[in-house]
């Protein structure tokens, strides 16, 4: 059934609690082949937690996760490489899979960091490191890509370029992408579906073309306007201070 519908992963009313506090609850979403789903929401709203639930990183979750692929590429939000472990970019590329030299080069070229191949991972800048993380995740040609704030630490032009690259990858590999955006209002235009979280699903829908917004175009330029879209939140409920839904 999943193959016919092209579903790669499906979350059905999932939730996860830690120390008796719900990090996220009642989330349902699905990622299909060739589609991009973007998660947005304020800090601590459970975006990363939701992604981790989808990846199967938690044991005691509520609800049901159905995963129809094991070929997954993951870019975590935070990753710190310990200096005690000497690691070059090329070693990092081979972390979870045995890849040929050509495949590594191709992925590093795509994200524009082929020149860093023999550099030590500890000496990279934030933006360079993000590109290496992305290269590693796409190098194995995954069916499902989970990108947790993949453009953090990248400057605005770089951000636009990376979003374009992600779109290109999604078309080329025809993979499904679950993307977490660090921005509450702008998402990449190629996004098929936006889910806004705040401990639960606040609202969801498709993004609105930023390009139509002339103010935005004036501010960030034509190219940025074509790559980014505005997501208009349609909240139909009010939150209490700790993120729960206020009951009237």
């Amino acid at each position: 059934m999943s193959i016919e519908n092209n579903i790669l992963v499906k979350l059905n009313n999932v939730g996860f609690q830690q120390n008796q506090k719900w990090l996220v609850q009642g989330v349902s979403l699905q990622v299909e082949k060739g589609k991009i789903v973007t998660l947005i929401g304020p800090n601590g709203s459970g975006k990363s937690t939701t992604a981790k639930i989808a990846l199967g990183l938690f044991k005691n979750i509520e609800g049901k996760v159905e995963k129809f692929t094991n070929n997954i590429g993951y870019v975590p939000q935070k990753i710190s490489i310990d200096w005690t472990l000497p690691l070059r970019v090329r070693d990092f590329m081979l972390l979870t899979d045995n890849l040929t030299e050509d495949v590594i080069d191709e992925a590093l070229s795509l994200t524009g960091v082929i020149n860093l191949k023999d550099k030590s991972l500890g000496n990279l800048s934030g933006g360079e490191f993000q590109r290496v993380l992305l290269a590693r995740a796409i190098s194995k040609k995954p069916e499902l890509l989970v990108l947790d704030e993949p453009v953090q630490g990248v400057d605005f032009t770089g951000e636009i370029a990376l979003y374009e690259l992600i779109k290109e990858i999604s078309e080329k590999l025809n993979c499904g992408i679950l993307l977490i955006s660090h921005d509450l209002h702008t998402v990449m235009s190629a996004t098929d579906h936006v889910v806004c979280l705040n401990g639960h699903v606040c609202c969801s829908g498709s993004p609105k073309e930023v390009a139509k917004n002339s103010e935005y175009k004036a501010l960030f330029g034509e190219q940025a306007a074509q790559t980014l879209s505005i997501y208009e939140h349609k909240h139909d409920h009010v939150h209490t201070d700790d993120g729960d839904i206020k009951k009237n």
Binding site: K52, L55, G56, L57, N70, N71, I72, G73, Y74, P76, I79, I81, D82, T84, L85, P86, L87, R88, D91, F92, L95, T96, D97, S120, K140, V146
Partner: protein, 267 residues
């Protein structure tokens, strides 16, 4: 050829160095130095049990160390104490219990110094077999779990998300750690085994820019330490364990020169 005690000690040391290099790298990368220490300290209890029940020493140490590792995992889950406190608790209490038990076993003569610091005269032909066969097995298993173990050392969630099985690799690695302690206790001694794992590895870190290189340098450092240590142990009549570890320390100090150079180059 193996009739000479010194040759036996040398062959034993070479075997241990080959296994200690790669395992030691993971001990350092995963920050398990104190964990290794705890397992090693519990080994004394293993020795006393082996003597009192007339049981194979290596097997007994292996079982006790594995048991301590399991107890640690349980304590970590069930108490609110930090890991280093739990490690200290287990390390010192198992060492103490081991020594107390030795006190009760008055009918057996123990060479306590030999147990704690290693004894160059203690290695017999059977030990050589244990070290080389056991060592080869340890390396084989490590080779098999290398990918998930290494990936989860770099980032646990990444390894798990992309379908490797980090928990299983971690559990197997703990067993391997118990195993190397079991096979190397006679030569290096309870108190210094972790040094054999860590010091050549620390030296290797100073000389390497990638993980493979670090493993190879750790093995070379271990081999050199064994050679220098055992020859000086023979020459100056010092206990074998401390001599090997002191040699490793000297190598480490030399490796610092290289670090200094690299730092100067950077500036």
């Amino acid at each position: 050829m193996f009739d000479d005690f010194f040759i036996r000690a040398l062959v034993a040391g070479i075997g241990i160095a080959f296994v200690a290099g790669p395992l030691g790298c993971f001990v350092v990368w995963r920050r398990l130095s104190y964990f290794g220490d705890t397992l090693a300290h519990s080994a004394l209890l293993g020795v006393t049990i082996a003597y009192s029940l007339e049981f194979n020493i290596a097997v007994s140490i292996f079982l006790i160390s594995s048991a301590i590792a399991l107890i640690l995992i349980q304590l970590q889950k069930k108490t609110n104490l930090p890991s280093d406190a739990l490690l200290g608790l287990l390390a010192h209490s198992s060492l103490a219990v081991g020594l107390v038990v030795i006190g009760f076993l008055t009918f057996i003569r123990f060479d306590i110094m030999g147990l704690l610091f290693g004894d160059i005269l203690a290695v017999n032909k059977k030990d050589l077999l244990t070290i080389w066969v056991g060592g080869a097995l340890i390396l084989l298993v490590l080779r098999l779990i290398w990918k998930p173990l290494f990936a989860s050392t770099v980032n646990y969630e990444l390894a798990q998300a992309e379908g490797l099985n980090p928990d299983r690799a971690k559990a197997i690695f703990t067993i391997l750690l118990a195993a190397i302690i079991a096979i190397s206790i006679k030569l290096v001694g309870v108190l210094l085994i972790t040094g054999m794992l860590i010091i050549p590895t620390a030296m290797a870190r100073n000389l390497s820019d990638n993980p493979q290189k670090m493993v190879i340098f750790a093995i070379i450092g271990g081999l050199l330490s064994v050679f220098i240590g055992l020859f000086s142990s023979l020459e100056f009549n010092t206990p074998s364990g401390p001599s090997i570890i002191a040699a490793a320390l000297v190598l480490f100090i030399f490796s610092l020169l290289k670090v200094k150079q690299t730092i100067q180059l950077k500036n």
